[in-house]
Symmetry: C2
Subunit: 122 residues, 2 copies
């Protein structure tokens, strides 16, 4: 199961980089809950989750998986998202935690805050 979970995490990070909303949503169980960042109102179910990812799909970005830990039926991973806006780049590297059942993500929590944004010239 650990290998299967790691594979979904790798797919997730790559698909966020591509802005591939439908493929991201397909990684989630129908009744999954996404809290991103933790402390904000969660998105419940495929429709709400689709809206959440669709809102950022048009941004030009690249992602990289920094490190992942698999524990039981859960994964915690650190990854970076670099978004390019004109001559500027914004980098955010959250720590996400996902819980899995039957190969699908049932719960995702993203840990980051506004203070974690790094702004620079591309």
């Amino acid at each position: 199961m650990a290998a299967e979970i790691r594979d979904v995490v790798e797919q997730y990070v790559a698909l966020v980089g591509k802005g591939a909303t439908d493929e991201i949503v397909a990684l989630y169980a129908e009744d999954a809950v996404v809290e991103d960042p933790v402390g904000t109102e969660p998105h419940r179910g495929h429709e709400a989750i689709r809206k959440f990812y669709a809102a950022i799909e048009g941004l030009e970005k690249r992602t990289e998986l920094i490190t992942a830990r698999i524990s039981g039926s859960s994964a915690a991973f650190h990854f970076s998202v670099v978004t390019t806006v004109g001559d500027n780049e914004v980098e955010l590297s959250p720590i996400d935690v996902m819980t899995f059942a039957d190969g699908k993500i049932t719960d995702m929590k993203a840990y980051w805050s506004q203070e974690d944004f790094i702004f620079r010239t591309a």
Copy 2:
């Protein structure tokens, strides 16, 4: 609150390195729950949590906080624990997630597996 949470995370990592069981337990709320690693039976309350940390306090080890993300009243952080046994070192770098209330840790989940141990000669 973010600064207070970050301070507790830094204290925690340093105290784990020292094997300072009583001081670690004092960071937790009375009815806190520790699941380390995630997927194993949780330790509930100060007495159970004390036993858990006391079991590893005698080991010669050093710790380092690699990165931390604060989100609402929670923190996720990646840190390393290097344990020295004779001429050998064992490194484990889990991702831990903590939830806080009134400045105390109420819930801790550690994400790692046996596959994450790195063995080397000191």
